[in-house]
């Protein structure tokens, strides 16, 4: 078990920058999630840590070893792949045992360790099947068992849940969380699903276009997004973002007018607020606009408006009803608002 340090890690293919100066210390036993849209460099970062991708620049340290030049097999990490990478010609038992076999772990330990790993992921009944005879969820658990069987320095998981159906995803997510609690092994987990990131992570790294956007606990990045990208990526629905003018603490953008913002900044800004923070009010309020559409979510009703070019959503009580094109008012108090620089997208003020 050890911490992992990335020092200015960069990956370039010709002129294309895959990962730009990734700098991060990952603590021992930490569960770190790399989050971002596809092509943002999160998988590349993980593959560089695993040794499957060359590093153009920078250093990667596992514990007190600089591993830049080490082969994947010499890094003592294990990895769960998106499509699992199971060996189709071996049984489940042989699949889980494979890392022990190639690493020349004494033979008399094999059986015990395979059984223990299989038990942790509830695979004991399937040990003599081949991967082709398993369901998606079972295959996924074989991949997990194969990763945990040899107690490595760190686990790397590359979108391990993305090939599962929604229901299975929730239960496997819980299982991974529980495994991490039991094994206490440093884990790096790549996903594009912000719910997975929020539920699993000790810390989340949000990436976009090869650049780290924000590093923080799930609460941090939810409550204090560092820029409009993070604000627009985290949360379901994502944060509402409205472009407008700020003058003396008053934000104005057509149908939206928010007063009393605690800032000295003037000029063009982007105002953000979450759908669940705003409320529908009978009259007055900071927003007044015709309803664009209304969706029933079960536990709530989602009302959306067209403001400028953007769609703004506000969560209302589950028995709230409104007709399309009906004029509705909403309260967006200054306390729930986030302000971002229009040009750079960076968060303004506190």
């Amino acid at each position: 078990m050890a911490e992992i340090r990335l020092k200015n890690v960069t990956k370039r293919w010709g002129d294309f920058v895959g990962v730009q100066k990734f700098d991060l210390d990952i603590a021992d036993k930490e569960f770190l999630v790399l989050l971002g849209p596809s092509g943002c460099g999160k998988t590349t970062t993980m593959r560089m840590i695993a040794g499957l991708e060359d590093i153009t620049d920078g250093e990667i340290w596992l514990g007190d070893r600089m591993v830049n030049k080490l082969e994947p097999k010499d890094r003592d990490i294990s990895m769960v792949f998106q499509s699992y990478g199971l060996y189709p010609n071996m049984t489940v038992y042989e699949n889980i045992r494979f890392p022990l076999k190639v690493r020349k772990v004494p033979k008399d330990q094999h059986d015990e360790r395979v059984m223990k790993a299989a038990e942790m992921v509830e695979l004991k009944d399937f040990l003599d099947r081949r991967p082709a005879a398993l369901s998606g969820g079972q295959r996924q658990r074989v991949a997990l068992a194969r990763a945990i069987v040899r107690e490595p320095t760190a686990f790397l998981m590359d979108e391990p849940l993305s090939n599962l159906d929604a229901k299975l995803r929730v239960s496997t997510r819980a299982q991974i969380k529980n495994l991490h609690h039991t094994l206490k092994t440093t884990t790096i987990y790549v996903t594009h699903d912000q719910i997975e990131a929020m539920t699993l992570a000790d810390r989340v790294v949000v990436m976009n276009k090869g650049v780290v956007q924000q590093v923080g606990t799930p609460t941090d990045i939810y409550d204090k997004p560092a820029n409009t990208f993070v604000a627009g990526f985290i949360g379901s629905p994502a944060m509402n973002l409205v472009d407008g003018e700020l003058r003396d603490g008053v934000f104005e953008a057509g149908k939206v007018r928010v007063t009393g913002l605690p800032t000295t900044h003037n000029g063009k800004v982007t105002l953000g607020f979450r759908a669940e923070d705003a409320t529908i009010v009978p009259e007055g309020g900071e927003l007044s606009a015709p309803v664009y559409s209304m969706e029933l979510l079960g536990d709530a009703s989602m009302i959306s408006f067209r403001v400028g070019g953007e769609l703004v959503s506000i969560k209302a009580a589950k028995d709230y009803r409104a007709e399309i094109d009906e004029q509705v008012h909403a309260a967006i108090p200054a306390e729930i608002c986030h302000l971002f620089d229009s040009k750079t997208g960076a968060r303004l003020g506190a």
């Binding site: 695993a50 097999k73 990490i77 990895m79 998106q82 990478g85 199971l86 494979f98 890392p99 190639v102």
Partner: protein, 296 residues
């Protein structure tokens, strides 16, 4: 049922009939020459090349007259025993076996590297292989002869084997490359994370999954070596001749002596293994042809 669908149905029935007739014609065109030659190889020359009537070849009039039975193995005896065709068969077996095994060994290594390397030079090697694949074999042979005479390696089976392996490489590399591409990269990468070197991952994890591709490519390597005429005819000495050049040398010497039937028997003997090959490996051959096409 409306009128139009009746018409459509009648038209599609005509179409089916036409297609079926067309296919049966093609079947005859494709298969008849072989069946006819196999049948004829058990006759005497004056039946198979009858001046009177082609029916003689069917009933073996002269065969019965000359040998006392409607079928004769004289052609086979003459070719295999009198003219030492068996030796050519042994040589062919040695050459094709060695060529297939060596081609596959170096081809799987190379094809794997080409499929897994993202570097530019891998692409250029494939393009170079494509150009090499297009070279007529006889033009290469004209490059070999003089150096081989000088080095004193002309005429040996080993020389031909090495040459055929090399000529075979471009095609083998392309085909195996496309088969390897169809194996997910996750597989060898998880093996390497699990503790294998690149070679161990290749040997223990990738190859066991690759068998169908290797077998298919092997069939095509076999066919290339087996069917070759240009290389074996020019590079092998008289004693080391394989079947195909042997048959061509039959033509020069036997036709005058009135023993064409030796050549016919030899041709049928050489076709038999191909027939068996199609029978047992039809699926692999088809998949090999399409693998190159769909991905190339």
């Amino acid at each position: 049922m409306s009128g139009t669908s009746m018409i459509a149905r009648r038209r599609s029935r005509t179409l089916a009939t036409v297609s079926t007739l067309f296919l049966i014609t093609w079947l005859i065109v494709a298969a008849f020459p072989f069946l006819w030659t196999v049948w004829g190889s058990f006759k005497v020359e004056s039946d198979f090349f009858s001046r009177e009537s082609w029916l003689n070849a069917l009933f073996g009039v002269y065969t019965e007259m000359q040998t006392g039975a409607p079928f004769t193995g004289d052609g086979y005896y003459g070719a295999w025993i009198t003219r030492d065709f068996w030796r050519a068969v042994v040589n062919t077996a040695i050459v094709t076996l060695c060529v297939t095994v060596i081609s596959l060994t170096i081809g799987t290594l190379g094809g794997y590297a080409l499929a897994r390397s993202g570097h530019r030079y891998a692409f250029w090697i494939l393009i170079a292989a494509l150009v090499f694949r297009a070279m007529p074999h006889i033009t290469l042979v004209s490059g070999y002869l003089l150096p081989f005479f000088e080095l004193n390696i002309w005429g040996h089976l080993a020389t031909s084997i090495v040459v055929l392996v090399a000529i075979n490489q471009p095609f083998t590399l392309w085909m195996l490359h496309s088969f390897f591409l169809s194996i997910p990269k996750d597989l060898d990468e998880s093996a390497m994370v699990d503790g294998c070197t690149r070679f161990q991952a290749f040997r223990w994890v990738v190859i066991p999954v690759m068998w169908p591709g290797v077998i298919t490519t092997g069939l095509f390597s076999f066919l290339l070596a087996y069917n070759d005429f240009a290389v074996t005819a020019m590079l092998l000495s008289q004693d080391n001749q394989t079947m195909v050049p042997k048959i061509s040398s039959f033509l020069g010497s036997i036709q005058e002596q009135g023993n064409v039937m030796f050549a016919v028997a030899a041709v049928v003997s050489a076709t038999a293994p191909l027939f068996l090959l199609v029978m047992f490996f039809q699926r692999q051959i088809v998949s090999g042809l399409t693998a190159g096409a769909v991905k190339g």
